[in-house]
Structure formats: C-alpha cells, structure tokens
Amino acid sequence: MGEHETSGIFESIVEKLPGGYDIYFWNFIILMFFTLFEVAAVFFEKIPGTEIEITLYAVWAILIGVGVIKGYGIAAYFMHLKGDPRIYTRTALFPVLFVLLMLWGIGLSNPGSVQALPEWCTPNWEFASQR
C-alpha cells in the first residue's frame, strides 16, 4: 500500500543516480524544474540569447506539455498510482470521460465551430467548399 514498484524505466534510472536519493526526491526536482521552465516560457518574448520569438502556439505547447509531465509526476509518484492496484488509476481516470464530453461541448458551442469544425475534419476543405 502506497509503496512503489521498482520496475519502471524512471525508477531504474533513479537507482543509478548518485547521492542515494529516492524516486520521490527526483520527482520533486523534476516538478520544480518544469515549473521554472513554464514560468520562463511566458516571461520571455524571445528565447534568451537568440532572436527566435516564442509564439502563441509554442507557449500552448509548452504549457500543455509541462502540465502533462507535472500531472503525471504528481499522480504516478506522489499519489502512488504507479505502485497501487489498477482500480485506483481507473477511478482517477473515470472523470476524464466527462471532461472530454465538456471539451466536446465547448467545441460545438464555440461561435466559430459551424465553420471551423468541418474545416478541421475535411481534407482539402477549400476545394470542397468551392464546389
């Protein structure tokens, strides 16, 4: 109960790291690092030392990517889902169905969805809409 299996890739990497720190410590360090990273991504308009602009889509990608990594780190290691029986993971994932339904609803009720959804879903939309 609440103990981790030591069979995953992350765990096997942690075992080889110096200092003798456990997986909780490295998970904590990773969470801190990615939080710094996401704040920095929003703080800077350009990648420091370069002229490359951080665009809206790059910020989205960073925020969503970092969110997924941090969410996984907290749920899998701090909340022990990785070592606990599968039923807990299934319980935790159950509301995701409803979250997806909500996102679907948001998409459908979006003012632009009448036009935008067929555009996203139809290959070669411009040609199709002109015919």
Binding site: V39, F43, L63, G67, M79, A92, M102, S109
Partner: protein, 447 residues
C-alpha cells in the same frame, strides 16, 4: 480500553485548547505588527505619494497652461508619470501589509476556534467515554462505523440553509449598516455542529494505531482499505468540480479577443483583459488597465506554485518517515530539526502546514493587488478567475484545518508504519490540490 487502541486520556485534549490559544496569540501579534504597525507606516507613505503625485500633476498642467518650453513640459510630464508610478507602488505596498495582517488574523482565529473548540469538546467527555467501541474497534469489538459524517453533513446543511441571510447580515455589519443578529443564527448553529462532528471524528481517530483497518469485501475495491477507496471516489468527484470551472473558463475564453489572440492575428482589438494581462510581463491593455505586469506581479503566483510542490514533497517525507522501519536521525542542522522519528513526522507536517498557510496569505495579497488595479469580479474574466482560484484556495484552507489535527495526532499518539495511512490518505487529497493548481496556474496566470 480495548486492546487495539492507544490509551488517550481526555486531559490530552486540553493540549489542543492550548494550541488554540497559541494560534490566537500569533494571529493578534501578526495583525498588530503587520496589519496595524507596518501597514500604518505604509499608509503614511502612500498618502505622501498621493500628495507628491497631485503636486506633480498640477505643476505639469500649470506649465502646459502657461505655454512653457517643450523641454520643461516633457520633464514635468516624466516627473508626473514617475510620481504616479510611486503612488501605485506605495498603495500596493500598503495593501500587501494590511492584507497579510488581516489574513493571518482571520486564519489564526479559524485555526484557534477549530482546534480549540474541538479539543475542548473532547476534553469534557468522561475518561471512559473515549474508549467504547465507537472507534476503530478493539480486539473484542467489531467495528460498526462512525456517526461523525452524519453530524458533519447536518452541520453543512444548516450552514448552507442559513447562508443567504448569514452573508447578508455579515455584509451589513461590515459596511456599518444595522444588521439583525438573528440572521446569523442558523449558519452559526451549522458551524458549531460541523465542529462537533469533526471533534467526534477526532475522538474516534486519535486512539487508532493501525489495528482493524476496514477492508472492502466486494468489487471493485475488494481487498482494499475502505478509507482509501472512499478517498479516491471523493477525489473523482473533486475532479468533476474543477472540470466544470475549467470548461466554463475555456468556453468563455473562446469568445474573448485577448492580447494573445491579437498577437496571433486571430482578431484585431482586445475586448477582454484576463488576470494574466495584469500579472505577466507584456500583458495586454484595455481602457488604461492591465499591461503593467512584471516579475514582481507574477512572483506571488510563482512562489505559491513552488510552495505547493514543496508541500507535496514534505507530506511525502512525513509519510515516508512514519513508515520507515529503520529510521535514523540526520546529522548536523537537520538533526536538530528532526531529532527522532516521532518529532520528524510532526515537523514535516508542520512544514507542510506553514507552506499551505503561506499560499493563502500570498493568494489574498495577490487578489487585493488585482482588485486595486481594476481586475474585479464584475467582469466575465474576473468572475471565473476569482471563483476558480477561490475554490482552489478554499480546498487548500480545508486541507490546512485537517492538517491541524494530523499535527496534533503526530505530537500525541504519533504515526508509525501501522497507522501511517492516515497521512497517506490526507496526502492524496493534498496532492490533488497540487494537481488542480498544475492546471489553474498556467491557464489563469500565464496564458
């Protein structure tokens, strides 16, 4: 006393009453120093800054009316803008100290009332009453559940039934209008019953040393601890609560033309300011509001994010220490903080508690700044921001109230490998609160 429980004398609960007194003293002291002492000094500085700004403004307008030279008008304009900047800074500085003082006072009053009243209610029980079979059961008693959730739910129901008149009366009292004190009655009764329910749960849980943890006997959680399964179902419902806030926000946001959308070429003119326009650098401006964010405005949210992650780690350390079979005290300075296993568990919990309390104080300071800068609950973006972050803050605060009891138990009966699951189950809730912040922070503060 049954053999499967720790012996807890009722006098031990008086310690909780004393802790309540300590919180009361800390709250009053913090309010007197921060909320009154420092805040008054800052208020004087703020008044000076207002006068300087007005002088600079008149000097600039007079120079313009007298057709002064262009360079002189330019210099006066710069001086006026600088004075305005100082005035805003002085105002925010005053708000920081005032809000911190008031928040700490209110938090400490709640802590004191909660643990003090709970301790007092349990201390007045006769010694025998605490050792019947209402707890987790002894060796010779079969466990038959707890009445605490029913009492607690009744209290919540009465509180909510009386809430409309409660908040109306409270609003009148705060704004100096005559209020009918009877309007507070139903909700106050509800709060007392909530505290009694919680106190009853404490009385049942404190002697628990890990024997007779209830195990589920049917699918889908067969063989698992019932408390843990229940907590996961509760977390599942909490995911739904936060999902509704988040989806409302996303739905509204698709209709707003924010600074991000303008920069991406998706629309032409900003029609809505979000919290991030006030907090992050390069935020959008609308009607003279927003766009003033810098490192310092984003700092409270960023510190809070780190505080929650660190607190998640400290609660993991508390659990790990409680469960350790061959725990050794660290050497050096850490050895003084963590002298033995029992104290180490308690001190890790205290660290978690302090980080959580800091989260609430910084959150309210940040709110006070946002309101002062014009980001109020009256706009769509403001309402969803304050409701979502407020609901999250409420979860943190409820977690802190529960943590008060965990610290009390760690200090008295103690946690070890047999009853450490109490920390684990609370930790699940606390990690969930951290997880919710992982979504809220980028969505509301950064984007």
């Amino acid at each position: 006393m049954s053999g499967g429980e720790a012996h807890v004398e009722n006098s031990i609960w008086m310690r909780a009453v004393l802790i309540g007194g300590v919180f009361l003293a800390i709250g009053i002291l913090a309010f007197a120093t921060m909320g009154v002492g420092v805040a008054n000094v800052k208020h004087h500085a703020y008044e000076d800054a207002i006068h300087k700004y007005e002088d600079a403004k008149y000097a600039y307008e007079d120079a313009k009316a007298a057709n002064a030279s262009e360079s002189e008008i330019k210099a006066l304009k710069e001086a006026k803008e600088e004075a305005h900047h100082h005035e805003i800074e002085a105002h925010l500085s005053y708000l920081t100290w005032r809000t911190a003082g008031i928040t700490i006072l209110l938090m400490c009053l709640t802590y004191a009332a909660f643990i003090g009243l709970g301790g007092f209610l349990n201390s007045i029980y006769p010694d025998d009453a605490g050792h019947d079979d209402h707890g987790y059961g002894g060796d010779d008693h079969e466990h038959h559940g707890s009445g605490s959730p029913i009492i607690f739910s009744l209290g919540i129901m009465l509180f909510l039934m009386g809430f409309p008149s409660f908040q109306g009366a409270l609003g009148n009292m705060l704004s100096g209008v005559e209020a009918n004190l009877g309007d507070l009655g139903l909700s106050m009764l509800g709060l007392v019953i909530v505290t009694a329910g919680v106190a009853n749960w404490w009385r049942e849980d404190l002697p628990f040393i890990g024997n007779h943890e209830q195990i589920a006997t049917s699918d889908p959680f067969e063989g698992q601890h019932i408390r843990k399964a229940g907590l996961w179902v509760f977390i599942m419902s909490e995911v739904m609560v936060f999902a509704t806030f988040f989806s409302s926000y996303l739905r509204m946001r698709t209709e707003w033309c924010t600074g991000w959308q303008v920069n991406a070429g998706n629309c032409e003119e900003v029609n809505m300011l979000t919290a991030s326009d006030f907090l992050r650098p390069n935020g959008a401006m609308l009607d003279g509001l927003g766009g003033q964010g810098d490192f310092m405005t984003l700092l409270p949210g960023a510190i809070n994010t780190f505080a929650l992650i660190i607190s998640s780690y400290t609660i993991v350390l508390a659990l790990k220490t409680a469960k350790a079979k061959d725990w050794e005290a660290p050497s050096g300075f850490m050895g003084k903080l963590l002298p033995d296993q029992k104290s180490a568990v308690r001190n890790y919990l205290i660290a978690t508690f302090l980080l959580g309390s800091m989260f609430i104080v910084l959150k309210l300071i940040e709110w006070s700044h946002l309101v002062a800068e014009g980001f109020t609950i009256g706009t769509q973006a403001g309402s969803i921001f304050y409701i979502s972050t407020g609901a999250h803050g409420l979860h943190v605060f409820i977690g802190l109230l529960v943590m008060l009891y965990l610290i009390f138990k760690a200090d008295t009966v103690g946690y070890d490998e047999k009853n450490g699951q109490g920390i684990e189950y609370f930790g699940l809730y606390w990690h969930f609160v951290d997880l919710a912040w992982v979504v809220i922070f980028p969505a509301f503060y950064l984007y």
